[in-house]
């Protein structure tokens, strides 16, 4: 729920790139054991329904990416996507 609030602030034009990058982080991550199975199942359901670029999908991806690849995710938000407010909100959540 908290992540859903955070992603509401992401401009729509950045949804696709954010989603794509987060999926890449998750699939390449060696820290698979940090992924809660409930969250993994949510992501898979959303992927099946084609909703990983919606607010709900992005919230699940962001939550998982912060758990598995925190550093890379913060770098993506702060530097590549220049989503400084989002990065700040995520830091406060952690």
């Amino acid at each position: 729920m908290a992540y859903q609030k955070i992603v509401k602030k992401v401009p729509v034009e950045k949804w696709e790139k954010l989603s794509d990058k987060l999926i890449d982080f998750l699939l390449k991550s060696k820290k698979e054991d940090k992924m809660p199975s409930g969250l993994a199942n949510t992501i898979l359901s959303q992927w099946q329904q084609g909703s990983l670029t919606t607010e709900a999908g992005l919230a699940a991806l962001l939550e998982a990416a912060v758990l598995l690849e925190s550093e890379k995710t913060m770098e993506l938000l702060e530097q590549e996507l220049q989503l400084l407010d989002i990065a700040k909100a995520v830091k406060e959540m952690k």
Binding site: I23, D24, L26, L27, E32, D33, M35, S37, A40, N41, I43, L44, S45, W47, Q48, G50
Partner: protein
């Protein structure tokens, strides 16, 4: 054969967390693959757990173990697992069965006893149980005494036989609905199809009745060097595991293959991978840019395959490679 009729399959080895494999499975379905195969090795995630998740998260892709074996899973349990899966995904399940991998079986201390007979008997038990009958079977390897499911079975489930040697290939042609050949080169497919034809003819069937499936080691990328780089480790293992007769068929220097075997045994992967030659990549993988892969797939189709399976490594980045295959390769064959 009509080239446009080829089916595209994809193979996943469930060595990563289940959610990664299932992510790719969903992606494969969305991107137009027809079949999905999950390998069965005791040291990876369980094949039926992975297939169950596949059934739950997909709607139309056809899937099955590629392949299971009669040594680690009793034929009756294989039949039970496959029929139960088919209840979850009616009409989408196939059974891939082969003799197994000797190296893996050695680890478990299981003898690969009478591989041909074991596979034939497993298929016999499987088919009879699928018919819902009480099965009493007196085989050389397996025996059952009135085994029967306590539930109704649905439609006939196709059986694909994983085959390498001439006798298994011939038998696969005779009794299989499909044959899974570990081959990426037309020379190997030519050889296999000749053997399959003998079995098909003995059974009085047509070759078109059997789905001849090439399980390839595949690597695609827009940049050839990146595609090759991803293929090298898999090709090193295939080269090391290939009998001399296969290496000679591809004019591969036996000494070079020995060098790779030795390096892999001692864990010197740098040496092993560094010894992989362009000839080895050509013989044991379908590798390159999308256009190069199309050309190689066309050659395999001409050699007689009806299903092309994209197997490990798929590419340097599995997700991007699946997209690339979907955008640039599959449409070429499914216009």
């Amino acid at each position: 054969m009509v080239l446009g009729m080829v089916r595209f399959g994809i193979e996943f080895v469930p060595r990563e967390a289940y959610w990664k494999t299932i992510y790719y499975a969903i992606q494969a379905e969305k991107r137009g693959f027809d079949n999905l195969w999950i390998t069965d090795h005791y040291n990876n995630r369980n094949v039926y757990v992975t297939l169950t998740a596949t059934a739950m998260y997909t709607k139309k892709i056809v899937f099955g173990p590629g392949v299971t074996n009669p040594y680690l899973v009793n034929p009756v349990v294989t039949a039970q697992s496959i029929v139960s899966l088919n209840e979850l995904a009616p009409g989408r399940v196939v059974l891939g069965i082969g003799a197994g991998d000797k190296t893996t079986l050695d680890f478990v201390g299981v003898e690969m006893e009478k591989p041909l007979t074991s596979v034939v008997e497993t298929i016999e038990i499987f088919r009879r149980m699928m018919e819902g009958k009480s099965v009493t079977f007196e085989g050389e390897v397996f025996k059952t005494k009135g085994t029967k499911f306590n539930f109704k079975t649905k439609e006939k489930i196709p059986v694909y036989v994983g085959a390498q040697g001439p006798k298994m290939l011939e038998t696969a042609g005779k009794i299989g609905d499909g044959v899974l050949i570990n081959a990426s080169h037309p020379k190997d497919v030519d050889y296999a199809v000749d053997c399959i034809k003998r079995g098909v003819s003995e059974a009085g069937k047509n070759l078109a009745d059997v789905d001849i499936t090439a399980y390839t080691s595949f690597s695609v990328h827009e940049n050839l060097e990146k595609a090759k780089e991803a293929a090298v480790p898999v090709v090193a293992f295939i080269t090391a595991g290939s009998p001399n007769v296969v290496l000679e068929r591809h004019e591969i220097d036996l000494k070079k293959a020995d060098k790779i075997r030795g390096a892999l045994k001692t864990g010197d992967f740098g040496q092993a991978f560094g010894s992989v030659s362009p000839e080895m990549i050509q013989a044991f993988s379908v590798c390159g840019t999308p256009d190069m892969c199309i050309e190689q797939i066309n050659r395999l189709l001409k050699a007689g395959i009806s299903q092309f399976v994209v197997g490990s490594p798929i590419g340097p980045n599995v997700r991007k490679s699946i997209d690339l295959i979907s955008e640039k390769i599959i449409p070429h064959f499914k216009k």
